[in-house]
């Protein structure tokens, strides 16, 4: 190929793009309504600023939370099924290397990490798999809080009702920490946001 330029190709499959943005909306609603629910009975010595919460008051926040949970769970299940069946997870996430991820983070902090379109680096792999696990923990601990009698085995597995509330909080914290990095990079690294909509980028095969 002349000048080594790569031809545009689909780097993000349509299924991944759609579930990504549906998930983004669901997470946005779940986190902001969750913050308002947290404020009704704070676990720790702080509250979330009211203007950055969703629902207005507890009933509104709960209505949002228990509506969006379906979107989050069903969309998440569709994504997991697709990822496992299509081979997307195997091709994109494996192998996982914590050492490689650590090296990549160091490189990225020095501005030396090359972003190759269509291929996740070691840090991305660890972070993406990590946030998927955090969402799964958030959903399971959420179910444990929602149904501590009907799903009491799950609640017991989380260490009981009060412990499940804390698990739920820290799963949220992990997701939000991921989002700070994820959104920060998505808007600052040139040319990676558009392909998440169009799917296409100039990338090596």
């Amino acid at each position: 190929m002349v000048g080594g330029a790569d031809k545009p190709r689909t780097i993000h499959p349509l299924f991944v793009r759609v579930t990504h943005w549906v998930n983004a909306f669901a997470i946005f609603v779940m986190v902001l309504s969750g913050w308002r629910i947290y404020n009704a009975s704070p676990l720790f010595g702080f509250e979330f600023p009211k203007d950055f919460t969703l629902g207005g008051w507890l009933a509104g926040a709960l209505a949002w939370h228990f509506a969006a949970m379906w979107l989050l769970a069903l969309n998440g299940l569709a994504y997991l099924a697709y990822g496992l069946i299509s081979g997307h997870f195997r091709k994109s996430f494996l192998p996982i290397s914590f050492g490689g991820a650590f090296d990549d983070v160091l490189l990225a902090m020095r501005g030396l990490l090359n972003h190759a379109p269509g291929r996740y680096n070691a840090a991305q792999r660890v972070f993406y798999v990590g946030v998927i696990l955090a969402v799964i923990v958030a959903i399971l601990s959420g179910l444990a809080i929602w149904k501590p009698v009907q799903l009491q085995t799950l609640t017991a597995l989380m260490g009981g009702y009060e412990a499940a509330r804390r698990v739920h909080f820290f799963a949220m914290a992990a997701i939000v920490a991921f989002l700070v990095i994820h959104i920060g990079l998505a808007v600052s690294v040139k040319g990676i946001l558009a392909p998440m909509f169009t799917g296409r980028a100039e990338a090596p095969r």
Binding site: L54, G60, Y161
Partner: protein, 246 residues
Amino acid sequence: MKPPRSERLSAFRPQIARLERRLFLKQGLSLGALSLLSGCTLKDDDAVDRLLMTMSRFNDKIQAALFDPAKLAPTYSQADVTTPFPFNAYYEEKDVPLIDGESYRLQLSGLIADKRPWSLDELRALPQSSQITRLVCVEGWSAIGQWRGVAFRHFLEQVGADLTARYVGFKCADKYYSSIDMPSALHPQTLLALDFTDAKYGYPLRLRLPTKLGFKNPKFIGEIFVTNDYPGGYWEDKGYNWFSGS
């Protein structure tokens, strides 16, 4: 001539009240986490409101399906009991109703064969049982308490309530009201509680069911009714999910 401003306003008061009730979710929207962060303003608030209420009714059905009438809530030991037990109501602790136990009569209405009122002595003459269970508040906190009283199923059978009816409703001395589904009313751990740590938690009679959130456990009960018409509730009418099962 125009009527005075206050009269003109009062003519619209019912509509205003209705509007306020409908706006409970809108306030949250206009507050704008959504508009603020995404840069879009949701103009069609009513549709969002309706969607959320539809989802809440859908969640009622899911929870009813998930409810296992034989599954018991975990029980705890005396040592686990939370002291002092948190007081929680829509009013302050100093405003709890004071009820004279001597003259108290529990009223019955609706789909119940024998609607004779019950005195406290008559209720105490029924078999009593006790439970130490966790009360989970809709706000998130929880506390373990002990309650003793009449198995609600036994009471409903005793008065000839229509056990195939959909709802059991409660009217309380503190102007609180609520309602539960019949399967939850018949759950073995659902109690008409006569004994608890302090009068402020609902003397002389409250409902205790560990299979639902705290606000579905009405205190200071004055009347119980059985019906097929959705009775709603104090918080439920303001937007809390009706089933609110645990």
